[in-house]
């Protein structure tokens, strides 16, 4: 973590006096070590691709190591982390095995902070059904990747964080249990409360530590006594049990009834299926009820075929009498005249 890191930088690769030989000597133009009498003479130096050269962009000590963060923001973060540790869903989501734990937040009697032996501390944690949690953290394992060879070889899971108000031996007894961390409530460490930036660490409070939270951070109604003019951030909802709110009488009596889902029928061609055509066309429906009896179950024809005989009745034929036909002869004479082709 950079705020905590000491500054570091690299100086390697510039501890020779090297100069390029220039062109005309059938060698590359990289700077070369001066002198003679040794292998090193004439070898390339300085450049990042040379053996024994310095790296590209050597890390500098004057890198900006520290970040300034507003105090209020820092306190906000700690408040959020502490609040998240009280939500079982978030604690479980972070990976802690709390299925058997009685209650979250888990607060233990004040005697817990004066436990001196690791065996005693372990027994206490097991009595609070934290064995699955400790079992999870027991193993350490090798890191995946190059970090192994960069002094970050081993990793392990993080388990419960024990927060005490006064250390009467708890810190010493618990520090050798893998996965368990400890912290003083008067100087809460965000890096332990939300490791990796993920809220919801399983926290075990001692009685005094839990009570001291009001002094350290304050309440909805009063400021923190141990900080100047500080009150914890206000919650967005006073009642965050959505399930209860939605199903309450007040809301249920005011909302509209549940609507049935609109399912639209799949498109089928009414010109192929007389049943569908009948559904859409009430007149055809009446005719189809009688026509259906003529057809067997398996041999229902398409609608167009059924409609053909029905349509024939609608043809428009105008009957002309002989006199009327005589009357129209001059018309055709007007149109065609003396053209012999059409006669």
């Amino acid at each position: 973590v950079q705020n905590r890191e000491g500054p570091h930088g690299i100086r390697a690769g510039h501890q020779v006096a090297a100069k390029s030989w220039g062109t005309g000597r059938a060698v590359s133009r990289v700077p070369r070590v001066k002198g003679g009498g040794t292998h090193r003479a004439g070898q390339g130096a300085y450049a990042n691709m040379c053996r024994g050269g310095r790296m590209f962009a050597p890390t500098k000590v004057w890198r900006r190591w520290h970040r300034k963060i507003n105090t209020n923001q820092k306190r906000y973060a700690v408040c959020s982390a502490v609040a998240a540790s009280a939500v079982p869903a978030l604690v479980m989501a972070r990976g802690h095995r709390i299925q058997a734990v009685d209650e979250i937040p888990l607060v233990i009697e004040q005697d817990f902070s004066s436990v001196k032996k690791t065996r005693a501390a372990l027994n206490t944690l097991q009595a609070f059904h934290l064995s699955p949690e400790l079992r999870r953290c027991k193993r350490r394992y090798k890191r995946a990747g190059r970090g192994k060879s960069r002094n970050r070889r081993w990793k392990h899971r993080l388990g419960p964080l024990i927060i005490y108000a006064k250390n009467d031996g708890i810190a010493q007894s618990v520090r050798n249990i893998r996965g368990v961390d400890f912290c003083n409530v008067y100087s809460l460490n965000l890096l332990k409360l939300a490791p990796g930036g993920h809220v919801g660490r399983l926290i075990i409070w001692t009685e005094d530590a839990f009570k001291a939270l009001n002094d350290v951070y304050g309440n909805n109604s009063r400021n923190a006594t141990l900080k100047k003019n500080y009150r914890p951030p206000r919650s967005i909802m006073t009642n965050s049990d959505l399930n209860r709110i939605i199903n309450s009488q007040e809301i249920q009596s005011a909302i509209n009834p549940k609507r049935s889902r609109k399912v639209f029928e799949k498109k089928r061609n009414p010109l192929k299926h007389p049943d569908l055509y009948a559904k859409l066309n009430p007149l055809f429906d009446q005719q189809w009820q009688e026509l259906k009896k003529d057809y067997k179950d398996n041999a229902i024809p398409s609608t167009t075929r059924v409609l053909k005989p029905l349509k024939k009745k609608q043809r428009v034929m105008i009957q002309l009498s002989k006199e009327e036909k005589e009357q129209m002869k001059p018309y055709w004479k007007n149109v065609f005249g003396d053209d012999k082709i059409f006669k």
């Binding site: 009834p257 009414p270 010109l271 859409l280 066309n281 007149l283 129209m328």
Partner: protein, 276 residues
């Protein structure tokens, strides 16, 4: 089916015992160990009340249905007679005119079906805009358009992109039955393309204009009625197939030059039937 059942093996006594025990366990789990919570009880009561109301409404609708269907059937009969009457009127007018040595000019067609026959690339802006206004956004999209001076001039602008003509009643009918989709606004901001599979859909949306069935829609479109715009707008533009048997000759020429674009007049019915 009967053979399969007889082939099923008889369970051994041990398996039977296990099965029964499991069933008993499941039964135990289902019964509540705690009296029914008030909130749950109230929710059940609410649900039951809503069900009862919905049932009542459904039943009243069903009771009124036969009468409604009869009314619709009567109306459709009237429409069919009307279509026949139109034809006979035209014929008698022609014959009467010929008797006097005159010609009979029928009223100009009031409705056209317009089919977009060219794709979306390399379209000039004016043409693009007019096609947009006519809702012809895709090749082989077809719409019904009322013919008046304004629309006729618009059609002139987009002539090379469309094939249009005067549809017959049968053409309109087959289009709506086979390719009829409706434009339904199910939620604010959500427009869906729903197939017309029941009269309820039409009634819900066009009931105000006294259009309840597909035949009502066809009548409204064929004889350009007062609610023509509403009906045609309710229909999603028809998405037609490529013409079976192909286009005429060279597609990119006017119909009169042996091509496809332009005014097909009543020959458009042939094209539509092949594209249906």
């Amino acid at each position: 089916m009967a053979d399969k059942k007889s082939q099923k093996k008889e369970l051994s006594q041990k398996q039977k015992f296990r099965k029964d025990r499991k069933a008993a366990q499941m039964k135990k789990k289902l019964s509540l160990s705690v009296p029914v919570p008030e909130g749950l009880k109230k929710a059940w009561e609410r649900e039951n009340r809503a069900i009862a109301i919905r049932k009542k409404i459904r039943e009243s609708k069903l009771a009124a249905l036969p009468k409604k269907r009869q009314n619709q059937a009567d109306r459709i009969k009237r429409y069919e007679q009307e279509y026949v009457q139109i034809k006979t009127d035209r014929q008698t007018n022609i014959i009467n005119a010929r008797k006097d040595g005159n010609f009979f000019k029928d009223t100009d067609p009031k409705i056209a079906i317009v089919i977009r026959i060219r794709g979306i690339n390399r379209v000039s802006p004016k043409v693009r805009k007019v096609l947009q206004l006519f809702r012809l956004l895709q090749i082989h999209n077809a719409v019904f358009i009322k013919l008046n001076k304004a629309t006729i001039n618009m059609l002139k602008l987009i002539q090379p992109y469309i094939a249009y003509g005067y549809p017959s009643v049968g053409c309109i009918r087959s289009l709506i039955y086979k390719r009829g989709f409706a434009k339904i606004r199910s939620r604010p901001g959500a427009i869906s393309r729903i197939p017309i599979m029941s009269s309820e859909l039409i009634e819900k949306n066009l009931g105000r204009s006294n259009i309840e069935t597909v035949e009502d829609m066809v009548h409204e479109i064929a004889t350009v009625g007062p609610n023509f715009t509403k009906t045609v707008n309710f229909l999603w533009p028809f998405k037609l197939n490529c013409p079976k048997g192909g286009y005429r000759g060279r597609k990119r020429r006017h119909f009169l030059e042996g091509g496809t674009y332009g005014n097909w007049e009543h020959h458009i019915n042939n094209l539509v039937q092949r594209m249906l």
